[in-house]
Symmetry: C2
Subunit: 323 residues, 2 copies
């Protein structure tokens, strides 16, 4: 019996007699044979490994997206190699992608939050299938061939949040931003601005944060001292929103009595905030799965298109119609 027959059995090639297949399989079992992936990769130049570059894994969203990608990959028979890099380092992003290419990964996914990272990814794209999870300011048009962009629709998420407040009857909606360089933060802020403008309302007070609870707290303190107090605030993410809730509570401003608060993310625990936080839920795991579906399509030579997943609003107790 030749090694070739063994190879055929392992790869499920059709033209092997059932009896032979049986014999080979039991021999494999008995000898505890395991095929050598390096040799296979060398011969086929396929690895069944995908490279995933995650920018700022320390945040809730990206780490969840990674989980989604990893799980979907395993289900599809792929394995995942990860690299997490700093948000501001285009160099790190490039190095990581380039290494993955060297390693011979079948495709690359980049989960990016900043324009720097997006540009780095775009620069490295082309030689191999790549899916970019990012809310880049300009889409498709600038994307190289074989580069697909996907994300959760941040614009829609912010719109849902602000629209919810307007529908309750609020006429002055403040906003607390995330870091200026963060694409999601930018999208949410722009969308907040647009919805207000389209409703013919003046732009509410704008305060800057950096995603952290502490920055939310500081912004909340400033907010509490505004004259007149806005009746609602759309906070860039939930962690900051917790800080806002605390600052308002300390200042004796009632939520949602005096002011309504909406967050973004539906991070764990905010359903237990005081009061439970109305927020925008993003299904990061589904995003990861969608990312992978497209990446596999590209790998298999099928066309794939960019896409925006819709987030949805979770209404809890922190929003109410204004007094």
């Amino acid at each position: 019996m030749s090694h070739q027959t063994v190879s055929r059995v392992i790869n499920g090639h059709p033209s092997v007699l059932p009896a032979t297949r049986q014999r080979v399989q039991s021999a494999i079992e008995q000898l505890g044979y395991r095929r050598n992936y390096a040799a296979r990769a060398l011969a086929t130049s396929r690895t069944d490994v995908l490279g995933v570059v995650v920018v700022s894994t320390n945040l809730y969203g990206p780490s969840r997206t990674l989980l989604g990608i990893e799980q979907a990959a395993r289900e599809a028979g792929y394995w995942v190699s990860v690299a997490s890099v700093d948000a501001d380092s285009g160099t790190q992003t490039e190095t990581a992608i380039s290494h993955f290419m060297d390693q011979g990964v079948d495709g690359v996914a980049v989960v990016a939050q900043t324009a720097v990272a997006v540009r780095a990814a775009a620069r490295m794209s082309g030689s191999r299938p790549m899916v970019l999870v990012a809310s880049a300011p300009v889409r498709s048009s600038q994307a190289a061939a074989g580069l697909v962009e996907i994300d959760i629709d941040q614009w829609l998420g912010a719109e849902l949040a602000v629209q919810h407040l307007l529908e309750l009857g609020h006429r002055s909606v403040a906003h607390i931003t995330g870091p200026a360089k963060d694409l999601h933060s930018q999208a949410r802020t722009n969308s907040w601005r647009r919805v207000l403008a389209e409703a013919g309302l003046p732009e509410g007070p704008l305060l800057a944060g950096d995603w952290s609870g502490e920055s939310g707290y500081q912004a909340g303190r400033e907010l509490a001292q505004l004259e007149p107090l806005p009746t609602a605030v759309f906070v860039g993410n939930d962690t900051m929103a917790q800080g806002v809730l605390r600052a308002l509570w300390e200042a004796g401003v009632s939520v949602p009595g005096d002011i309504s608060v909406v967050g973004f993310d539906d991070s764990p625990g905010v359903d237990q905030a005081i009061p439970p936080l109305t927020t925008v839920r993003q299904d990061h795991v589904a995003l990861g799965a969608a990312c992978l579906e497209r990446l596999i399509a590209l790998i298999e030579g099928r066309p794939a298109e960019g896409f925006l997943l819709s987030p949805n609003l979770v209404v809890r107790a922190s929003t109410l119609r204004p007094a």
Copy 2:
């Protein structure tokens, strides 16, 4: 010029003339040559890749630990392949480890929270260096050769929390557990029990949770109705603690006036809880780094020993001496 010389230049072999080295390097530059990792792996049976199996990546701690491992790995010149598996599935854990072995990883790290996963890992250990990040009930003794166990000291963490309450003068300390199968939960509960016993105090009320905010909320409601009300509660993790805070607030029980609350993890946002939560901080990223240090020692044939990192108490506003 032969490929062998090129190989020598790439691998930094000493016996190459500086002039030759230069020439080769500029040729590499010019041609954009990249060595093929699969071929190298085939020839050397080294891959510079580490496999990391993470049990329940959806939790804050494990995902942070993964981040720590990944970063330390990259710094050490290794790359990381990850697989996240269900907490209760020993089979999934085994499959993942076994696959990594097939892939030819140089070493494996397993981040486990349950006894099932720990046993699966122990079963698969031996053939290759492996570090187990887990608080297994029995340590070292049962570990196979070449298997190192490491974790953050859960017993100490719980001790710090309960001791802090006792030092404030509390005499009845309730506890809310995590999932029964979770090793960290078990360790924290056991430690709570032991500290109370050693202080000659009666065991306070014990309530069961499952790490979720909602379960903390339910437990908090039960807690609020106890007669007499304990003056302090040690909650198994921060997410549950947020639920407890809300339940107590709803029930009109003041924190820390009527009851002190201590959490565990120092998850993002709890510094902004109402009131800011006293909790036990664990440096998961440092844990990941420590894990990697040991794994590399094993790979390089140096001895490595298990270790418990010390967590520390972060005192905020949710604890106070009893009235």
